[in-house]
Subunit: 153 residues, 2 copies
Amino acid sequence: MPPSHNPDLADAPQNTMDALVQLSFLIQGLLTRVASDHDLSLIQIRLLGVLRDRRPGMLELARHLGLDKSSMTGLVTRAEKRGLVQRLPSPHDGRSVLVSLTPAGQRLTKRITAEVDQQITALTTSLTATEHTHIRALAAKLLHAAATSDAAQ
Amino acid sequence: MPPSHNPDLADAPQNTMDALVQLSFLIQGLLTRVASDHDLSLIQIRLLGVLRDRRPGMLELARHLGLDKSSMTGLVTRAEKRGLVQRLPSPHDGRSVLVSLTPAGQRLTKRITAEVDQQITALTTSLTATEHTHIRALAAKLLHAAATSDAAQ
DNA sequence: GGAAGGTAGTTTGTGTCACGAACTAGGTCA
DNA sequence: TGACCTAGTTCGTGACACAAACTACCTTCC
């Protein structure tokens, strides 16, 4: 487990770039800490998160995570060895494999989700209801902007 | 360079946790892409970012990045081999080493900062001036909350 | 001023993660 | 059926991270 995080600074962000970058490191640090409390890496819990409501093939999974397909093999294999995910042959395509959470993986995913939620709640207690709304709206707007510009490529 | 990122979603975040987590992955993906355009990793450009306005010792640097001191040795050594940072003996403590950007490191850092800024600007073009203000304010509030709860440990 | 103990950093060994290139096996299409 | 295409794995390499053990220097205290 990495030692206590003190994400980048004492100094408040002056512009939107710094605000978003620093905020992202803050959240990632939080996620990393929760992950390592369960002896997992950030990418492993991200894998669990993606599989919460999906049963994708390896290639689709790789696209989701922004990884090469050969990286997926290793990632899924390690998660499989821990009993968190399973590979099932696709009924429609003999080449393809569908990755899904095992029951143990589902339980762990729920637990980790709850812990992350709790941590984020702790972080956001000082926010007003209006500010909560703002965050959701802003995140949605940025995610949408990214998704549409991605699709335009 | 990792293939095109399609960070987690088509679906908009329903709650504050998802909003922040998904947003953080979006920004980190952006940073990773900019980094790999320069054949660097995320952690390497983060190192450069921390050194922009600091000349810390190895241990202080490790604290900033949330890494073990032994991890710092490798990270700094690799950056040093690329000519981006340098180790200088501390004038006050014979055990200590001060890490700073080389001129090449400063130039690269400026360039990367500009590219990140440009990417973020592209992402945030659709935001109103008010929303920009909201983002900065919210980020500052959360970073402050994290910093003070960290200190309380 | 010298021994005891603390602190800064490195070394070594191990494991995870990521990539590209080459490969296997199963689909597709003419 | 033969010529492709596609899904996934294997293999080799390198970055990154940790813990434990080590070196070298500083501090403290008698």
